[in-house]
Symmetry: C2
Subunit: 191 residues, 2 copies
C-alpha cells in the first residue's frame, strides 16, 4: 500500500524517512486562516486534517499523512512569518520567555475517510535575545519558512537552553507518536 | 585571537559554527580511561579539560575549547561503543528507561593555563525497543561513533518521546552555556 506525506517541508520528509517506510510527497494547498475564537490545539489539528483530506481525495488507495506545526505564546498562535518585519516581531515576543510548540498529524487509510488525529506539545525555553542577535539571525534564510520564525535544529539552537518534551515535535513531526499509529496499519512496506 | 575546537566530532564542529566565530579544529588524542570510583560528572569534566590542555600546550596564543559527552544510566557511564556487540548491549540497557546525558566543555585562554569548565545535564526518555528495532538500527553507521550508541539528531530520534533540558547538550555541545562563556572573552572574531 502506498504511503503519502502531504507536506512540502523538507524537515518532515527527513524525519519520516527515519521510520523506514517507503513514501512519496504530495503537497496540499489549503486555506490556513484561523477561525474566530478557535483555540490553538483545535486549529493545528484541523490544519493537519485538511492537508490530509485534500490529498486523500485524489489518492483513494493510499495511506495519507497530513501534519501541521504552530508556536503558541501565551495563547496566541504564531505561524510562519510573512516577511522580515513579522519574523522580527515574533523573535522579540519569544525572547526571554517559555512557549509551546504543537505539532498535529492526521492519517487517513483507504476506505476509512475519517482521519485519525493526534497532537503533541513541547515546552521551549528561549533566552533573552539582544538586538544584534535578532538582526544577525534575520539575515540568514533559516527563520523565514518556520513556525515562530526559528529552527531548533539550526542556528537558533543556541537561543534555547532547555526544552521539555519531544524534539522531533518541535522540528515538525512527533516521530515516536506517529510511528505508534503507523504500526497499527497493515500493508505498509519498509524501504 | 585564534579559536580552536579540540574535537574530531563533525556534530560539535557544526554546532560551534552556529555561534558565529571563526575557528579551526585540532584533535587531541587522550587516554579516556575512567579512574576507579570516579563519578560521571568529574570524569566528563576531566576529559574536556585534558583535550583542552593537550591542544593549548601547542597553541599558546589561541583560545582552546575541549568537550566531552557521556551517557549515564543509573550511575554507570556509557561512552562510545567499541563494536556492534557493545552497541547492542547499550541499546538494550537504555530501552524503556530514562538516562542522563552530560556534556562538559573547558576553555583555556592565552596566558591563563587554567581551564574554565562547565557541565550540563539533559534527561532523555527512551521508548521500549523491540528486538527488530535494535537489529535494524545496528545495521546503519549512526550508533558507532556516539556516546550511548545513538544519535538524537538522527534515526534514533524516533526512539525518544521526550527530553528535559538542552538539545545541543545531547548532540555534544551545550551551545547556550558555551556562548555565555565565550562572550566574556575579548578579541574573538566573527566569521
Amino acid at each position: 500500500m502506498k504511503l503519502i506525506l502531504a507536506s512540502a517541508s523538507p524537515r518532515r520528509k527527513e524525519l519520516l524517512s527515519y521510520i523506514g517506510y517507503e513514501f512519496e510527497i504530495q503537497v496540499a494547498d489549503i486555506n490556513e486562516e484561523v477561525f474566530l475564537n478557535e483555540d490553538p490545539v483545535t486549529y493545528v489539528k484541523r490544519m493537519s486534517q485538511e492537508k490530509c483530506q485534500t490529498i486523500a481525495r485524489n489518492f483513494t488507495d493510499a495511506v495519507v499523512i497530513g501534519a501541521d506545526t504552530i508556536v503558541v505564546l501565551e495563547g496566541d498562535i504564531l505561524g510562519k512569518p510573512i516577511d522580515k518585519k513579522d519574523a522580527e516581531k515574533m523573535l522579540r515576543a519569544l525572547s526571554g520567555r517559555v512557549h509551546q510548540v504543537y505539532s498535529a498529524f492526521s492519517i487517513i487509510t483507504p476506505g476509512s475517510g475519517i482521519p485519525r488525529t493526534r497532537s503533541v506539545c513541547t515546552e521551549v525555553f528561549f533566552k533573552e535575545l539582544h538586538e544584534d542577535e535578532i538582526h544577525t539571525y534575520l539575515e540568514i534564510d533559516e527563520p523565514y519558512d518556520k513556525a515562530g520564525a526559528y529552527a531548533i535544529q539550526g542556528v537558533a539552537s543556541k537561543f534555547i537552553p532547555e526544552i521539555h518534551g519531544s524534539v522531533t515535535n518541535v522540528i515538525g513531526l512527533p516521530l515516536f507518536e506517529l510511528e505508534e499509529e503507523l504500526k497499527t496499519i497493515e500493508g505498509l512496506f519498509h524501504g
